[in-house]
Symmetry: C2
Subunit: 144 residues, 2 copies
């Protein structure tokens, strides 16, 4: 079985938070939106139905963990969850905390303006905080 390798564009645009049972958890490095990305750690996945039924249910569980963490950390007005993959084909799920005051509301976030990287002190603090919120769910350190 080919090994899992994170897509280079996902790698470039995100900061690693850790790993749940199925997914690598990433923070989108975009200070405009609190935004997690879950990437199932299996090679050659593009669509949800490329996972088997138990893996899909586990993915849903991990999506809920990500939603809960964003809700606890930010108190958003709405959560957006999406598996699109039109630009980066590797299966990945966006979990985004939305506010009626954010720059894209009420539109989806994709294609709106330009990504704005966090200042390093802010991203480090956020990665730490979200990691602590996911720790009770068994989050472990990202494997290189």
């Amino acid at each position: 079985m080919p090994a899992f390798t994170l897509d280079s564009r996902l790698q470039a645009d995100t900061l690693p938070i850790g790993e749940l049972t199925l997914c690598r958890v990433l923070l989108m490095d975009d200070a405009r939106f609190p935004w997690l990305i879950l990437v199932p750690r299996k090679a050659d996945l593009a669509d949800l139905i490329d996972l088997d039924v138990d893996e899909r249910r586990r993915l849903m569980d991990e999506i809920a963990m990500a939603c809960d963490a964003l809700k606890a950390a930010f108190g958003p007005d709405k959560l957006n969850v999406a598996a699109l993959g039109n630009q980066v084909r590797q299966l990945h799920v966006h979990v985004i905390a939305r506010f009626t005051s954010d720059v894209a509301w009420p539109s989806p976030v994709w294609g709106v303006g330009e990504r704005q990287a966090y200042p390093p002190h802010a991203s480090g603090s956020l990665v730490d905080r979200l990691g602590k919120l996911l720790a009770p769910h068994g989050l472990t350190e990202t494997q290189a």
Copy 2:
């Protein structure tokens, strides 16, 4: 417990296909994209985490059924799955068959141009075809 009522905007923009165990299944009346919408039949839901864990897993199962039906009917290049709810707050999941030749590719479909309703003969045939593909999963007639 308040009864489930379909949001009026979802009702206006779609055609009913039937009901699975958890969700009402709708065809988005937009001839530009093969596009299903799943709406869990419980009142007062907005986010995925408003469902309990078993309901969320069931939702994932029904998302996979919708993906499989679209894949069998249309052979798309990619499937897009999303629960956004920024415009219509009632929890609903988009399952969209995407083609590299469609008018929105590679962008998401939301906010691209105007919805183009199917001619009636085409929507009736599509509803019938997708209903037949979902029938083995226990699809029943839509309850008013």
